[in-house]
Amino acid sequence: MDAPDIELIAKALNGDAESFELLIRTYSRTLFAVAFAVLQDAGEAEDVVQETFVRAWKKRAWMRDPAKFPAWLTTVARNRACDILRRRRTVPLDADAPEIADTTIPAPDEHSAGEAMQANVHTALARLPEQHRTALTLRYLEGMDYLGIEQTMGLTNGALRGILGRALATMRKTLKTNVEAYE
């Protein structure tokens, strides 16, 4: 992490609200991606992001190492999102789609290609294991590079390669017809 970043974090942790707001600007989208990966819901993810920052502000006294702050934020956001997910688990994620990961999702009709494809991708994502989903979300939603994803997820080089590869493969299988139909 960059030195100025650490300085900024240290300032924010000492109670400088302006610096903290800068931090919010820096990390909110990453946290959104993390939360979204878990929850698959933009509104809820946004709430999680906000709660995470409020919590971080309140607990800043206990944060002694600024370098660990981003990772801490991610963990908090992820845990919070998981809490919400767990709470809503009783309601089926998607009542229409049966929970079978192997089933392929048929390609959409020609005329409604754009929106339907979006929905298909969304459904496929939802079926991925959480770790895979997070990796993909960080990559495509946030456009993060390898290093960023690894840092955010707390992974080492080889692990992320495997995760991404397997995630892509699963997606490919699930959306097989879609891919074939894609021009």
Binding site: S28, W57, K68, G165, R172, V179
Partner: protein, 754 residues
């Protein structure tokens, strides 16, 4: 090999390539493999398509540009609350070790303080006020109090030392302890002034070495001393002036003023270097002290006896109590002395006791002025036991009565005036007459009172009580003999009859006599006699012959007749009379103690029948059944308790009969050595009992097994209950420790968390 690796993990490689995560070398290898391997190539193409799809679809899910703004606004809203901010501020503040330590100290101090308030214990015993110079700042310390500016305390407790002004500084301040103070420390006045109000001063030394006016005004209690070596003035101004003054005043300079001296006593031990009285007002005494070394023992105001004058009406009286050798001689002396002092013997009465000694009372009237001298002269009369001299001030009563007499006389004149006018009716005249009579009566009464007062005032009354020595010597002694005789005999009735006839023969007076039989059939008799002293010895001797004497005791008491035995008189000189002998005679049945005691238990069945049989057998063989009792309990156990008494030669045979009844248990025999002979009595205490028929007497392996198991089970239950107790005891502690450990670990994890 690298090729194989790429081929096997083509998915990963392809994904990494899509993310530009391959090193240039890897990228080259990857591309080379793709060129060679159609399978991998097609898969990579699919991945690229997938990548494109995702790139086209997922970013649409990105939050809108206002996302950050919304988050920040929400954040501000949630953290801007004063409470939250304050709280987070406090939380942030609390992270510092110093703050935590301070907080812990504060909490501890609060606990100590509240504890001390609850228990009333002081945790710092020697602290006192320290008044710093200048600022009037007050701080706790355990030294002394020093002050420079004027300080005034309405209510202060000073356990330490007070120094008014320090030695190095010479100020002119005044320390005023105005009221409700209590202090025990030593006080040094080195400058300035000290003023004590209603203060309780316990054992301090007030040393005034220099400085201004020191006043002790209205000090309620002062047990220490004052030393004044300065030229300053020491003022003692007490409300009562007595209790408040210090006992010990050492003065070698300055002025001592004692005000409000109506009843002011001079300090009991006062040393002065010189004295000069300056001013002699009634209520104020002032002494000035210089350097001259001259010691004066101060007992100011030797009081003379108070004597009545025109403005004071005092009644003086004295009571004296003498022990004299001869009453009549003493009376003569008193009369002579009274004559010398212009007095007279008013009344005299005397009484002669049974032992011929006189006691009596003489009332003498003397002129009040001569009373003291008269009393001095009386001292020679004999042994003065008690003396009280009193003065009654009747001034107020006297003059009040005089005034009332004057008023009444005026009233009388007015009434007489009304009578002389003939204008009134007869009934009114009668009323006036009646009123006049009443007024005259009251005037006479009051004048009588005044005359009585005059008489009392004119002469002092001396009441002399005298008694001759050895007044309490007894006139005679009576010897009263009290005897108790207890006799055992075989035939109580006969002995009782004999005793009565003996008593009649001796012409003894019978106070009480009765004969009775108790529950066991034993007869006993008592006889209470008064026997003339001259025949008593003979009569008692006869009575003693009635049987075996258990005990006889006799005590003689001499009772003083008229006067107490403790009197100083000579007891041998008194007459001695013998009173009747008081005799208590008890006759009891003689029973020889058993020479051999046997006790045994017999287990059998049909207890009741066998008991009856045994009793019959006993009677048949000449064995006496002393007691017999039978009892059946609810569980079927029958118990029969018997005691037998028999001559020794029948003992062995009878014991065999007893033993034959059943199973013998607990057999004990005790034999006393002193009783012997063939016919010495033997006793058997026997208990015949049966087993209860409900619980069988179990034996055998199963019974043992069951017993063992039962005991084991109850032991197990006991230990389980003990474990429960232990759990209940430890649970709160374990819980508390667990909570603490959990909290500490949580706290640590917070700090370490990535």
């Amino acid at each position: 090999m690298n090729e194989m690796n790429i081929h096997d993990k083509i998915g990963d490689w392809s994904a990494a390539a899509l993310c530009d995560a391959l090193t240039p070398e890897e990228q080259t290898n990857f591309e080379r493999h793709l060129a060679e391997c159609p399978h991998c190539r097609s898969l990579n193409e699919e991945n690229q398509k997938m990548n494109e799809i995702l790139n086209n679809t997922i970013p649409a899910l990105r939050p809108d540009p206002n996302f950050e703004r919304r988050v920040i606004e929400g954040f501000r809203e949630k953290t801007s609350g004063g409470w939250t901010q304050w709280w987070s501020g406090i939380v942030w503040f609390a992270q510092f070790r110093t703050v935590q330590a301070a907080l812990a100290v504060v909490i501890l101090a609060a606990m100590v303080k509240s504890g001390s308030m609850l228990t009333g214990e002081r945790f710092s015993a020697k602290s006192s006020l320290r008044m710093r110079e200048g600022a009037g700042e007050v701080a706790e310390t355990d030294g002394f109090a020093a002050y420079a500016p004027n300080l005034s305390f309405g209510h202060a407790q000073v356990p330490g030392q007070i120094i008014t002004n320090s030695a190095t500084r010479s100020g002119a301040g005044t320390l005023v302890l105005a009221g409700g103070n209590a202090y025990t420390g030593a006080t040094t006045v080195q400058g300035g002034s000290l003023s004590l109000g209603a203060t309780t001063v316990k054992q301090p030394q007030i040393a005034i070495s220099s400085g201004g006016v020191t006043t002790l005004s209205g000090v309620t209690s002062f047990t220490g001393g004052v030393t004044n070596t300065s030229s300053g003035s020491l003022g003692l101004t007490g409300a009562a002036g007595t209790a408040g003054l210090p006992n010990n005043i050492a003065i070698s300079g300055g002025i001592l003023t004692a005000q409000n001296g109506k009843s002011a006593k001079s300090p009991s031990s006062t040393t002065r270097d010189d004295q000069a009285v300056d001013g002699s007002q009634k209520d104020e005494r002032v002494w000035r002290f210089g350097d001259k070394a001259k010691s004066i023992d101060g007992q100011p105001g030797d009081q003379a006896s108070p004597v009545s004058d025109d403005s004071h009406k005092l009644i003086r009286n004295a009571n004296l109590d003498f022990e004299v050798d001869h009453f009549d001689k003493a009376v003569e002396t008193i009369a002579a002395v009274a004559g010398e002092e212009q007095g007279y013997v008013n009344t005299q009465n005397s009484e002669r006791g049974a032992n011929g000694k006189l006691q009596g009372e003489i009332v003498v009237k003397v002129l009040p002025a001569n009373l003291d001298r008269f009393l001095m002269k009386l001292r020679a009369l004999g042994d003065l036991k008690n003396q009280t001299i009193g003065t009654d001030d009747v001034t107020k009563d006297y003059f009040d009565t005089e005034a009332r007499v004057r008023n009444s006389k005026r009233m009388e004149e007015t009434l007489l005036g009304i009578l002389q006018k003939n204008t009134t009716k007869v009934s009114e005249l009668l009323q006036v007459e009646k009123e006049l009579a009443r007024v005259r009566e009251s005037i006479e009464q009051m004048q009588g009172q005044l005359k009585y007062y005059d008489a009392l005032v004119a002469y002092a009354t001396v009441t002399i009580t005298m008694h001759e020595k050895d007044l309490s010597q007894p006139a005679a002694f009576v010897l009263r003999e009290q005897a108790n005789l207890s006799i055992f005999t075989k035939d109580v009735e006969k002995a009782f009859a004999d005793a009565k006839s003996d008593a009649d023969a001796a012409k003894a007076q019978t106070i009480e006599s009765h004969i009775e039989r108790d529950a066991d059939g034993h007869v006993s008799a008592t006889l209470h006699l008064l026997i003339a002293p001259d025949v008593s010895d003979e009569a008692i001797g006869k009575l003693k012959a009635l049987g075996r004497i258990q005990n006889f005791n006799s005590q003689t008491q001499s009772v003083a007749n008229s006067g107490s035995r403790n009197g100083a008189g000579d007891a041998n000189a008194a007459k001695i009379e013998k009173d009747k002998v008081d005799l208590n005679l008890t006759i009891q049945r003689d029973e020889e103690p058993a020479a051999q005691q046997t006790s045994l238990n017999v287990l059998t069945d049909h207890v009741e029948e066998k008991t009856a049989q045994l009793k019959q057998a006993a009677v048949a063989s000449g064995v006496e059944v002393k007691t017999a009792a039978f009892n059946r309990a609810t569980d079927g156990v029958e118990v029969s308790t018997l005691t037998f008494r028999m001559p020794f030669n029948k003992y062995a045979a009878f014991l065999e009969q007893v033993k034959a009844l059943g199973k013998v248990k607990d057999f004990t025999v005790s034999r006393s050595d002193n009783a012997g002979g063939e016919n010495a009595p033997a006793e058997i205490a026997l208990q015949i009992y049966s087993q209860g028929d409900i619980v069988p007497d179990e034996t055998g392996i199963f019974a043992t097994l069951r017993k063992t198991l039962g005991e084991g089970f109850s032991g197990l239950m006991w230990s389980i209950s003990m474990i429960g107790v232990a759990l209940a005891f430890f649970a709160p502690w374990v819980l508390a420790v667990g909570v603490i450990v959990w909290g500490v670990r949580r706290f640590k994890r917070r700090g370490v968390k990535k």
